[in-house]
Symmetry: C2
DNA sequence: CTGAAAGCGCTAACAG
DNA sequence: CTGTTAGCGCTTTCAG
């Protein structure tokens, strides 16, 4: 690959002048500019972004770090970030952590993150202390799921509120045996599932009902196939269920399929509510009643905070919980 | 951020020794190694990957460039690449081009790509000449859709074969008015839609039928909502349709919803076949009959070719078309 | 308007 | 086993 030096030699000027031309800086005579550009063209010169980053201390790119792109929720999050970032001219890359602590630790090694001017980080398995250890003047905003009492900006979905809304709606629609698929026991470590399970509990209590702990069906990687099997097994075991709050839309899709496998009709026999409002959820037959997590709001706030940090603000960390809303479709009566 | 120099000073050795320790090179006495590691810990030293890349000429990361992560097919492609790459210890980042030519051009600027040791590129809008212009000794493998007569390695899905299989199956199951949603006219520029439309035509001809050009319903960004509207409008216009080959599963999901909107039953009144075999397609009710594009094979081949290039092979470019298979589920009789 | 020098942080090559 | 030198390609600073 040709370098500035090569172009300089070819056009008979110094590297500095070439740099000035290439970067569109003023104070270059029209004649030399043309000569330089010719050489650039001729040699096919392209800046070396690595060298520029090293020198400049900035890379012009920001990273979004998510567990996996094939979890539709994260894919939609990534798309929302991409769209929101488009006007700013910043370049975005997506890093996948693999949903495991090890993966997160490696994708999040300080060294890696240092290559970016800013990072949006959707944490799943990391401990608070691990996040805290990240170099503190790296602009970084946490996204999503679990409460983290860190000194970093953090934008969360309304997990509790959404779960509460979803469950309350099922109860309002006369479901009296509302299972939560993807729920966790009371003493599980806090996380997305835990918070949503708490919302499920709260809705019961507000309605004067006692949540049936046997109806907490554990998560299985939040995948469709596993959820389908889980609800099937619950039915087979003779559990009486007339409503399901699925902790994600992916789970909900599996649940609907599993109910259908057992000859149960949705919503006539069992009503189902999901969480995420994926694109596909609107176009299922019947359409999935679900919680819209307002990813657009989450992303807008996160980028606002990130830009603030990137421009050097050292103020106190903000912890935001964004509002959600229930979207009623055909899987509820 | 502390640098090697800082660590060297703190531990009273030269930067080179610190470098040797940090990189686990042999020939360092146990005593100095310990002293250095202490200083590393104390100062919180982390290598600067930018500097290392500049020096080494390699970054240790490869890029997958796709139009958007929220197109489920590409998300699944990205996941497959991630999984396949995991054992190799290479780091992967996902670049989104935005499905527009401009986006691709910018994400694919030579400068950007140079930062990676290798690139898997899923081209959509680029012209052959633009791809050809990329610096030729950059290890790069093209993935996917349209035939490109370039000098680069290229792994394609069996677009034609899949469309032919899907359409033939509909005809075999007694559909006689098989629409293609997402199809394009004969003279459209070659691309995924064009190739799949050709497969739809071929299946008709092989069955001794004449494809009805009015049943080519144009693509609308391959989104669910648009496809739903498109099929609805076609029904409203009085077109007789008893089978639909949807060019992607996303389109198929929209089509199923649109048919349902009009009171048509799937598969009783209209049979539907998709293309992609997304995770969700298996768990729809009824399950979607679709073409499995064997992304696993595509990815395995692509990485094989990429590794070959990355290890310096200058041999002739390979152009592969991978086999596909039909997955029969509930949307066909 | 143009250029020379210095150095971003790292490592390969060679000396000691 | 440890240190010195040089330089990856670029841009900031300062001098012409």
């Amino acid at each position: 690959m040709p370098t500035l030096k090569d172009v300089a030699r070819a056009s008979g000027v110094s590297v500095m002048t070439v740099s000035n031309v290439v970067n569109g800086r003023p104070r270059v005579s029209e004649a030399t500019r043309r000569r330089v550009l010719e050489a650039v063209d001729e040699l096919g010169y392209q800046v070396n972004l690595t060298a520029r980053s090293l020198r400049a201390g900035r890379s012009g790119t920001i990273a979004l770090s998510i567990p996996r792109v094939d979890h539709p929720y994260f894919a939609e999050l990534a798309a929302a970030v991409t769209d929101a970032l488009l006007p700013s001219g910043q370049h975005l890359v997506v890093e996948q952590t693999g949903a495991s602590r090890e993966g997160e630790l490696s994708a999040l090694s300080q060294a890696r993150l240092q290559m970016y001017d800013g990072v949006l980080l959707s944490v799943v398995g990391l401990r608070d202390s691990e996040v805290a250890r990240l170099h503190s003047d790296m602009p970084l905003v946490l996204l999503g799921e679990k409460p983290m009492p860190t000194q970093r900006d953090h934008v969360m979905l309304g997990n509790f509120e959404g779960a509460r809304l979803a469950t309350a709606y099922l109860i309002e629609r006369d479901a009296r045996h509302v299972a939560i698929v993807g729920g966790v026991a009371d003493d599980a470590p806090a996380g997305m599932e835990g918070t949503r399970t708490a919302g499920w509990r709260a809705a019961h209590e507000e309605a004067g009902l006692v949540p049936d702990e046997r109806l907490i069906l554990p998560p299985d990687h939040f995948a469709m196939a596993e959820s389908r099997a889980t609800i099937g097994a619950a039915i087979d075991a003779g559990l009486e269920i007339d409503g399901v709050f699925a902790v994600t839309d992916q789970v909900a899709i599996g649940v609907v399929a599993g109910l259908h496998d057992r000859g149960l009709r949705v919503p006539d026999d069992v009503q189902v509510v999901g969480f995420d409002d994926l694109e596909v959820s609107e176009h299922l037959v019947p359409g999935l009643t679900t919680v819209d997590p307002r990813v657009d709001l989450v992303v807008a706030e996160a980028l606002r905070l990130l830009e603030r940090r990137m421009s050097g603000d050292e103020g106190a960390a903000e912890h935001l919980v964004m509002p959600v809303r229930l979207v009623v479709r055909g899987t509820t009566r």
